[in-house]
Every structure is written in structure tokens, then in C-alpha cells.
Amino acid sequence: MMANAWLLLTAFVYLALLFGIAYRTDRFRESGKSWINNANVYSLSLAVYCTAWTFYGSVGLAASQGFMFLPIYLGPTLLALLWSGVLRKIIRIAKRYALTSLADFLSVRYGNATFLGGLVTFVAFVGILPYISLQIKAIGFGFELLVEAPDQLSTGSTSDSTTFFVTLVLVAFTILFGVRHLDATERHEGMVAAIAFESLIKLVAFLACGVFVVYGVYNGFADLFQKASAFPELAQLWTLGHDGEYEEWFFLNLLAMLAILLLPRQFQVAVVENVNERHVDRASWLFPLYLLLINIFVLPIALAGRLEFPDGQIDADTFMLTLPVHLENGWIAWLVFLGGLSAATSMIVVESVALSNMICNSLVMPILIRIPFVNLKEGKGLNRVLLFIRRASVALVLFTSYAYFQTVSSAYSLVSIGLISFLAVAQFAPALLGGLYWRNGNRTGALLGLSTGFAVWAYTLPFGQMIQAGWFEASLLTEGPGGIDWLRPIALFGFEGAKPIVQATFWSLLLNTLAYVGGSLLTTPSRLERQQARLFVGAMSFSEHSNSLQTWQGTATPIQLQRLLERFLGKDHTRQALARYATSHHTSFADLLAADVAEAGLIQHTEKLLSGSIGSVSARIMVASVVEEEPLGMDAVMDLLDATQQAIAYGQQLEEKSKELQKVTDDLQSANLRLQELDRLKDDFISTITHELRTPLTSIRAFSEILHDTPGLPEEKQREFLGIIIKESERLTRLIGQILDFEKLESGKMDWNPQPLELQALCEDALASLGQLLRDQQIRVETHFPETAVQVEGDYDRLLQVLLNLLSNAVKFCPKQAGRIEVSVKRLEEHAEIRVKDNGIGIPEKERNAVFEKFRQVQSTNEGKPAGTGLGLSISKNIVEHHGGTIGVAPGSEYGAIFFFTIPLLPETPALPNLQGGYVPEDPDR
């Protein structure tokens, strides 16, 4: 039919024309104007939805299942009615945060969830492969069909060499077309203009073919339908209801509704490439109109194909081409070929650009940016690296699709291949729609839902296809893995009788949604997630034109920002972008860079420019590396709250401190009182000591003066007076010794000479040394001693001092002429006890402890003032306690005072029962 060279030439001329349109558009844009800033162009660009599937596949499906091709276009129409709400919200958010792909969108919505972005990219990549392979297949068979005779191509299969060649050309074309350079905003106006043009060609070609068939071959619709109605198998194509078609109809509607929103290329043209949010309003009816028009002739062409090729040897997917060829209209065939080429190339280009953007920004960059030795901040010529990554991604996408086509999908019809991809991207629906309208949707839910849905999808559809393609045991389909019936990929969980796509849609979306909702409700999102959820869900309350990103509070110089941009965009693009910014802000490029500190708007603009190249999350990290930021976000607010809490905590600490201070003050006050008391006691003590010292001194001085001043004093008087002087001097010496003893005891400098001693002997010695005094005072002494020696260890001199002190006190308080003193020694369990009892005035109960305090003197005396320093008992107490004993005044005596003290017994002393000591008059002289 047509010469190979002619067709090739046509194809390349057409591609060159597209390239020219794109090129002119980009040039035009650099002058500050835009061809695509137009609602009609926007609507046409959305028609990238109509691919080779629409162009060839719809007819193919209609030829066997009638209207079942139509839900794929009715669903988008139903959703397009809602675009002025849903799509505009997505666009507003995407512009506000400079989001350039669905992966970007979802990862930012769920709190900069890098992993989620990567997962979305992966699902999109894997899910879209069949779809792209479908386009390759269509271009391939279109090409071969026109080169060779149609009746030789009954199966529509193509040779390997043709499709591989097609793939190569497509890679080159896509790279030239969509990834020629890096665009800072990730918008490709040239590409959009070209695909809008291609949409026109598609529609014109389809309508031309339809008109040719309906009116050129037949006499209008009535004639065609009448002729077809003669054949029942054809007439039933315009009815529904066979074999579960209604439920399939419903699910296909649903799938297509979601796909129009979620397919990467639709997100690209509808959201990323959108120039003006208001264009959506026009598109919400113009795009459905386009769909309606391109579908009008589908069923008629399918019927004509069935009528023209009654033997069924021709693949219905090729009717669009085989009919004009068969009817010998070369021009229509040529137009249809260009239309099919347009449908396939526009899809491939946009899809590859969208995918390479996602792969680069959401998969590769987040990894690169975290690898220390790659050091993106310092690197030079990064724009080249980025370009390379994107171009490689395009090649990867297309060659993988080619491989998929070769291995799996060549045996399937165009529509059944495309639906697999529809269901794959439909898995994004719960996370996206939930993210837009449900504030409690969180990252965990999104990850759970997407992975669950993707797993079910992969198991039921691609895996099922691979089994049918013979890669795995066929028994997996008929009996289920391991014979588990309800795990069969074509009838999961016992969903019998439905088409694979129906049950796959049902289970994957149901489980996905349940996992998303459940995961969101059962986990607590981070602070950042809650903030993002609030911003996304409430996005429509932002102004349409406020495209501000999160505000930067820090500072950077314009030069720093320029260098940062140059690393990713290259020198020229950076200069252009900054010049544009300068112009729009009524300043010059030089002035912009000369500023000491970049204004907040420029920092934001930088982040936005970078977002286009490396994705919003990475861009934010990059800008943050330059800007010394003090973010006033939720974090800052939380920090403030923390600070407040710290202040409260600090206040509590202060309160505690002041309580402690109060306590210390109280302690100090009581200590002060005690000190005052001690001071008073010390005063009294000194006063007492002074008194006691002055008294003997007075006598000594007086008699000395008398002796000196009185000549001729009788010798008898002289002797008497000198005797007094000597006695008083001794008294003075004794007093001084006591004071020194006391000082030694208090300061711990006393020398101790512990030795075994017998208490009875000690008492005898003490009484003996006081013998003269006792006799003078006519005091009767009784002793009660055990018969066996009571052995203790102690310092003899000190213990004797104690005993003498107690005895002389007793003597002092005894009534004259009628005094009586009892001294007794007793064994207790581990101690020996010595008691000294007198028949004096006794000691009031309240003073029984006080008498042992230093500086104390028992005040009330019956006869004679208390002699002594007030140190005697205090010294005794100190000595006894040093020996490990106690000293005290025994209670409950009807007359006199009973002083006692204990000393630990020596261990070897046998403990004998107490013996009543006999009444032994101590003084035989009396």
C-alpha cells in the first residue's frame, strides 16, 4: 500500500512539527508571554487521557462487548463535574508548596514522608509499565499495518525489531521533548502546546474516520445500525446485561473516575502544568465534550468492522486502520495513523516526564541528598547530574515497558492492559482524597493503605497475567497457591464469577481504604503531619494568589541563593529566573544581588525554583542549608510552649527553694536562739567563774595587805592569817585545774589511761580522801558492796574525780550534824552501777537532766550557797560517757538526791546474782 519510506518520512515530519510547536512555545514564553495560558488549550491538553487505548482499543472492545468501552469516559465526565472543587484544591495546594508530582504531593501532605513519596513513585512506575507497553504495541502495529497488507496482520502482532526501533525513537523523542533542559518550575509549556495540538489531531482523525465509515461507506447511522441489526450477534452489542456486565460497568466507571485524577500524566497536565486555576472551570465541561465527541463513532466503526470482516480474522483493535486500508482510502488511513501516533506519543511523553520527575525527585534525590560523600551542596554542575538522572529515568521507563510488552502484554487486548494500570494508580485514591478532606488521615494510614492495595493489585492482576502467560504453574489459578482455594488470584476471598478486573478493583480498593482509615485512627501523627493535614484540608481558605510557602524567618545573602540555584539549574537558567524575579519586583538584577540580606520573598522564590528541580522536601533541606533559619512554625510555637513550661517548672523550683530558705531561716532562728541561750549561759558561767576565782583572791589579798601593813601583829595572828592565805591559794589552784579539765574534755585533748580496776576499791579510796571533811561535818556514811570484786576498765584518776564530785556535792547538800550518805555498787547485766545517795534537799524533777549541762548550777539551795564552778557534774558526765556509761539522777526518792553512774563490766567478770550489801559504817572514828 504505502511505501515504507513515505510513512517513515511522514512520521518524522509530524514529530518534527510537534517539536517545532514546542520549541516556538518555549521561545515565546521567554519573551514573557504564554500560548498555553488559555482554558481551551488547557482542556485539550487534558485530552492526553485519550491514548492509543482510546484510539484503537475502544473500537476493539466495542466490537466484542459493545458499550463496555464507555465507562472509561463516563467516569471522568462524572468526576470532571467536581473539578471546580477537587482539582482546584489540589492545584492551589500544589502551587502554594511548589509540588511537582503526586509523590511530592503525598509526601508533603503526610509530613515530608520521604518513604511514602518513594513508595508512590514505585507503585506508579510499576503500575504504568503495562500502559506504556500498550502504546508501544499500538505504534508498532500501526506502522506495520500500513507497510504490509492488512490481511496478513490478522492477529495484530508485531515483530520485535519494529517495536524495539519504535522504543528507541520514543526515548530520543521524549528526552528531546520533555527533558531537553531543566525547568525551574517543572512546567513544560512547549510540551503542553504540542500535546494540545496532538489532541486536536486525534479528534480530527477519529471523526474523519468515523464520518468516512458512516457516511462514506454506509448511508449514515440509520443505515449502519439497520444493517447490523440483521445480525443478532452484532445487534446485541448495543445492549448490556450479559455476563455480569452491569457490575463491571460500575467498577469501570469508578476506576476511570479515579484514574483521571491519579494517572501521573493527568496530574502533570492538570495540576503541574496548570497556568491559571480558573481554567479548570472551562475544562470541566470542555474535556467531557471532547470525550463524547471522540466516542461517538466508536460503536459504528466497530459494527462496520464486524460487517466488513465477517470472518473475524482481523484483530478488532486494528479496525481504525484496517477499515480505511480495506476500503482503499489512503488519506484516511494516513490520518488515522497520525492520530494513533499522536495518541501514543503524547501519552508516552507526558507519562515519561511525569515518571522521570517522580523518580528523580522522590526516589533518587532523597537518597543522594542523604549520602554524605555525594555532598550535593558543594557539588558543581548539578544541573547536569539532574538532567542525566531524568533522561536515564525516561530510558528506564520506556525500555522496561518494552520488556513488559515483549514478555507479558503482547497477548492481551489494549483495554485489558490499560485497566491494569488504572487500578494500580487508583491505589493512591484513599491517601489523596483522605489527605484532601480528612484531617485525621496520617502517614501510617497512607503507607498501610497504599502497600495493602498495591499488594492485592500485584497479586490479582500482573501475577494472574503472568500465570496465564505460562510463567508459573497454571494450578495457581485453578486451585490456588498450596491448594488454598480462596487465595486464587482470579477469585480472591471466594469472589467467584466476576472478571479479574472487577474482583481486583473490589478487594484492592476496599482493603486499601480500610487499612488507610484503620492505620490513621490507630496511630498518632507527628506534630508536622498534623500541621500539614490542617494546611491541606483547609487549603481553600487560602487566597488563590497567595502562593507563599512556609515563611522563612532566617537570613541569607542573595549571592548565597544565587550559588545554590546555579548548582541545580545552571548559570543561565539561574540568571534568567532571577532576572524575571527582579523585573516582577520592579528592581534590577544587579540591585537584587547587591543587597546585603535577601528579602524573604527571594528566599521563598529560591525554594520554589529548587522544588521544581529536586522536589519540595529536598528543596527545603537545601535552602535551609543556606538560610540561617529560625522557623516560626508549629515547632517554634511548641518551643515557646516548652519555654513556658520551663518557666512554670522554674517557678515551682523557686517556690521549693523559698520553702527551703524559710526552713533554713527557721533553723537559723532557732540556732540563733540557742546561741543566745549559750551566750547567756557562757556569760553566767564566766560571771560565776569570776566570782569563784575572786572570792579566794579577795581573802588572799586582804590578808597579805594586813600582814604587810600591820607591824607588830602577834605571831599567832600572823600564822592564822598565813594559813588562810595558803588554803585559799589551794582553792584557787583547784578551781583553775577544773577549768582546764573542762576545756580538755570539751576539745577532746584529755589523756586517758584505761586500766582494770575494782569499783569497791575506788569507792573506798574516794571516801578515804574525803574522810576529814566527813568527820568535820559529822556525816554518817553507809556502803553496800557485792562480796566479789566488780571489775571494770577505766581511768582511775578520772573515775575517782567523778566519785569525789558526787560525794562532795552530797556533802554540800547534806543537813549539818544529821547528814547521811549511802554509797552502793551493783552489777547489772553488762554494767556496774554506782549510787551516791544523800539526805539533803533533793533535786526538783525538772532539773534532773539540767544539772549535767555545763555552766549549770542548781539554783535553789536550802543551806549554804552552791559551791563550785557548775562544771563538776558536766565534767563527770563527760568522763562517764567516755567510758561508755551513763550518769543521771534517779527518780522517786522520798528524801535527798540519788546520783548514779554506770561503767561497762569487764567481760570475764562472772555475772553473779546481786547481793544485798551489809550495813557497814564507813567511819570507825565516829
Binding site: S34, W35, N37, N38, A39, V41, F67, L70, L74, T77, L78, L79, A80, L81, L82, S84, G85, G220, F221, A222, F225, S229, P232, A235, Q236, W238, T239, L240, G241, Y246, E247, W249, F250, N253, V275, N276, R278, D281, R282, S284, W285, L286, P288, L289, L292, N295, I296, L299
Partner: protein, 70 residues
């Protein structure tokens, strides 16, 4: 208000363009040019598009500022 109407239209369209309504028009016989289901599907579709266009463009002329120059 406009978005509520559109939502209503979308839901109604979804109902009308599904079982059981479409099953009413699903029969072989037809009189005139088109089979009944063909007429019904494209008819409802066209009406939806027309209504939307009416709502959008009227609204656009009344409320929205002139579009940016193209």
C-alpha cells in the same frame, strides 16, 4: 452553591448512567436512527455537559474577572 449543584449533577449522573436505569434502555429493537441505549447514554452525557457548561460559563461571565490574556 455552584459546587453543590455540580455535586448533585455528578451523583445523579452516576445513578442514571448505571444499573438499573440503563437496563431499561438495553434492548435490541429500535425505531429511528440510533439504538435506545446509544441514544440514552450519549443523550444523558450531552445533557450533563451542557448543564455544566451553562453553570460554568454563566458563572464565569457574572462573577469571575476577565481571563488572563492568551
Amino acid at each position: 452553591m455552584r459546587f453543590q449543584r455540580l455535586t448533585g449533577m455528578s451523583l445523579t449522573g452516576g445513578l442514571v448512567l448505571n444499573y438499573p436505569v440503563i437496563s431499561v434502555f438495553s434492548h435490541l429493537d429500535f425505531s429511528g436512527t440510533f439504538p435506545p441505549l446509544y441514544l440514552f447514554l450519549f443523550g444523558v452525557w450531552g445533557v450533563l455537559i451542557g448543564l455544566t457548561a451553562f453553570l460554568m460559563e454563566r458563572h464565569g461571565r457574572v462573577a469571575a474577572p476577565p481571563e488572563d490574556g492568551s
